[in-house]
Symmetry: D2
Subunit: 339 residues, 4 copies
């Protein structure tokens, strides 16, 4: 349930206020160089606290290798990486327990796990676990840039960026809207993958869109995904939408398909966008049920939270995209099992 991938497998575990969160990667080829330094940049990008609209909670987030790395290289055995939870504030969660936070998983977790769930700070449902996704992405990105993997010498690159905040392409403006309204706000993030070979993915169930969307919806707060022209394609004529192939390598004149045809990469840039809902924890007062009293009561979020969770999503989106393609490339033998 907490695993993804067929040859490059990612397993995650942990809770927001438990001792630690972590991941195991099983199936990473031996011989990939890997040090703590490799993680710093992406982990820094994920952290809150650096910009308007993100939470001041800070964790050191030093990746602790527990297995699978030896002499600064992967060994072929499972790579276990840990992150300690140092900066937790246990607060009075027990007291608040019967009052499920609107937009959060509190209610469903309680029903699903029969009241046994770790409810502190969202427990296992917490966005805290995205640090595990980012760490898996760091390792996957190194694989994607290994020699001979992509169409160019630089290998395959994955880049995500924010397109809109609260409907504004001027992101400062979008954020200011939320600050002014004392409310949280959503956004749109785009991801592009370049230098992919033709032929990744499968028809039907394991189409590139299928596996990508599967893992993208593992990112909390994602509400939609579209590839290439996406929803706009529903308004187009076929002669507009079709991309004419122009070269023997499959390069097309336009890229409405976003780099995927028939579920398979076609050698053009892969492009997709995702919609991020506004942070569920808004400063605004809201109503919710008290499941003990059965009554409705006003609810106010205390503590530190992001106004716009979308700001932290790009590096997470890159990460999950990277490990999808690590897996697809291994499946198609574009990455050698031993580097």
């Amino acid at each position: 349930m907490n695993s993804f991938g067929r040859l490059f497998k990612v397993h995650i575990f942990g809770e927001s206020h438990g001792e630690s969160v972590g991941l195991i990667i099983d199936g990473c080829p031996a011989g990939l160089s890997l040090t703590q330094e490799d993680f710093l940049q992406d982990i820094e990008r994920r952290k809150g606290g650096q910009q308007k609209g993100t939470t001041p909670r800070k964790e050191d987030d030093i990746p602790l290798f527990k297995s699978g790395v030896f002499n600064n290289k992967t060994t072929g055995a499972p790579i276990a990486v840990f992150f300690e939870n140092k900066n937790t504030r246990s607060g009075d969660y027990e007291k608040q327990r019967a009052v499920p936070r609107p937009g959060h998983a509190d209610f469903v977790a309680n029903k699903k796990f029969g009241g046994h769930e770790d409810f502190r700070g969202g427990g296992h449902f917490s966005g805290r676990l995205t640090v595990c996704l980012v760490a898996a992405g760091v390792i996957a990105k190194k694989l994607l840039r290994a020699e001979g993997v992509g169409l160019t010498k630089a290998g395959i690159t994955v880049n995500a960026s924010i397109l809109e905040i609260g409907g504004e392409t001027d992101l400062e403006k979008g954020l200011q809207k939320a600050i002014d309204a004392k409310d949280s706000i959503g956004g749109i993030v785009e991801c592009r993958v370049s230098d992919l070979p033709v032929g990744l993915g499968e028809p039907f169930f394991d189409s590139v869109e299928s596996v990508l969307s599967h893992v993208v919806f593992a990112i909390p707060a994602v509400r939609g995904i579209e590839f290439g022209t996406g929803f706009a394609a529903a308004k187009m004529f076929g002669s507009e939408h079709n991309d004419a192939i122009e070269t023997i390598n499959g390069k097309t004149a336009t890229n409405h398909a976003g780099g995927i045809v028939g579920g398979i990469t076609n050698g053009n840039e892969l492009v997709f966008r995702i919609a991020i809902k506004p942070t569920s924890s808004t400063p605004k007062e809201q109503n919710t049920l008290n499941w003990e009293s059965g009554g409705i009561e006003p609810f106010s979020v205390k503590g530190r939270h992001d106004l716009c969770i979308a700001l932290r999503v790009p590096v997470v989106l890159e990460a999950v995209t990277a490990f999808v393609f690590a897996d697809l490339l291994l499946l198609e033998q574009h990455i050698k099992r031993i580097l």
Copy 2:
């Protein structure tokens, strides 16, 4: 690769112009009544030829049970169902082979399978295989309506319908646009699932959105998916988007989440929409590569094709949705292994 599901497993096979297409369902509980008649309505809904904008190709599409059904009930063993391909027109595919059809998988299939692919009519990539998805859906829907499965006595129901054709909610108007333009056109389809219990799905990798979107992108021509408010959520404030829980069963005042929070069903109606691109085979002349000559040449689609493939999608969308929930319900033991 051509399989989906963990306990309720669907395997598909076949090609557009091969002898037959078919499916195996493994893991369907024993004791479910099942006859050919159960399939007729949904297979009829999928067929082309009944309305403006759909292809005149007709297959009898009689489901042939090969195993797993005995005395009109499922036995617990794998259910194999076949559909013969009777109405194929082999045409002169060999001749056209070096000219990949724009928007189709011809080019990527050729690269992926090294020229060994069955290229006749799209081969294994053909929309013909959606009859297998529909058949799997018929069986899954029967399970969803079994006694005690859903929140109400009627069990769980899955309904999909077309929202827009070519940007028009007046569907006749959208279709006429395409006919007038002598071009194909896209559309938007919505799916609603009612009476789901709380607690299906898992946090992160196996969220309901993850597994649903995975299988939805197995449907040819889907370019995007959004749950609940979807892309519009990216423009909303948190206090607007959050759905206030009002009852002990989790009913919410609004349903912006579309029935899923934290990746888990929350007991409200599940709602999602998908974008369907315009049919790749448009009557309009287009350019494409001839990979033998290396030159660009004009290309015209001959033969019978849908102007708007979206018209045939609702029943397919219901089907894949149904087998996702059959699987999730088995995983959470809402369906008994022996009925």
Copy 3:
């Protein structure tokens, strides 16, 4: 449940007295030549009726390709193969139903599937389905002999043979014992695989022994498996059992390990043996329960049955061994995805 393999996947279906049995292979590389003729020899080897001790039931057993083969080559899409059940004698199974045959699955099938199982001739539990295993093995063996796959130009070969019948290495003698006693008899079958590369398999859960024994116990009537020296190793000293490595390629002076160390192939011949129980259907009268009356009653097998099912096992054992190694070789990239 009825599937095996990670990249080279085998799915089987069917019942003894249903319309047909069959298999799907998903993940077979494109470009492998494949014709009906390829199957004849192994299917002939599996058939009863040619020798003392095997059943006179004969099926034509012509493999019917339903998908995945085009111009006599695999396409990369799922390969569906069927065998019709022509030579069934429905008999009066309904009448005998409440009297589970000793040694057969009748009782457990009834309990497991709540009385919905197809009980005719063992239904889905029947040895009839081994024809599907043999067919999968034929395709796998072709892959194992593809250029560049094994250590030698001839590729990897899999050979199984009978070592003992009823404790006798003179097989005629063993068989005569059974004929004289008017009873069925067991045997021991050995399998050898030559020219395997070093490095297949994984430590722990996916050791070569793990995956091989998993599939070997899918063959009806197998009661034990041992690798290399096997059970005799339990009586040996370490200095006796250890195989001294003598060459840079890993060749060892002895082969007590049977070609596997630490779960991984070591470049020596792979050797293992399996124990086959006597055919459950013996001509001798036996007692069993009548689950309707609750009483014990005498039971006699009518109809045609093998005295010694072990005689038919070698080709089935080769088959499952072959598809295990097809999978392991694909996983380690010794077989190219596109031939």
Copy 4:
């Protein structure tokens, strides 16, 4: 690759001389009470140092819960458990590296992982990781004893014991043989599981024998497995081997089948035996290759090692058996997802 199970999933990681070894269990139902004390007895049984013939290496082996346990109960989220490696002696492994130890995985690991493997003390191939299997078994055993799971109120019990050492049923005598010979020695271990319900397992690929043998061969040094009468069945007549069903619950007069018919549990005691080879590290001097010089040289094991690894196997065998049945019981809904 380092994972096992479909609903009750066990993932393991770690190396002999790395920082730690550990496991994740995903899919354990919420609400199972779990404390460190639950682990002590089985971990103590696994440890060397208590008896003649086992290694003096001792680890504290305190299970460190990292996630999935809250208020001494499982939460339904992944359970991560760690064991620190404190008592390692790094020795001069680098120097010995080119001299693969006979009977060990040194040579194959080097080939498989291209020289990147952690070679210290066997690295990821080390028997050290069996502490992870034992820990997974502790949790599984608690599930098997949960209310309503087995046929009796006590639930399902799993017991393994040593039958033979070096061919002697007087175990002291067998061990003394090895001590006298200054050599290591093998043995045979038997496992019995009582109070299993009828109907676990599947025909063919997921037979009980298939899944059990799969995981049993994950235990280092296992060379063979046999169920019920096992290899002796190959010498028997059918009328001798068949177990006559005597009661409506499936109890049989004899139990040659060892509790499994047609791959399915039949309600009788499950019985199987495994053969354990002599410890590869024997005090006797042996020859092996030096892969740098290419020459054969004498080799002596230094350090602490078990004379008879079979002595430590019973608790590991119980463990893997327990998590197989936890999985099979969840699959058949004999264990509720929420306790």
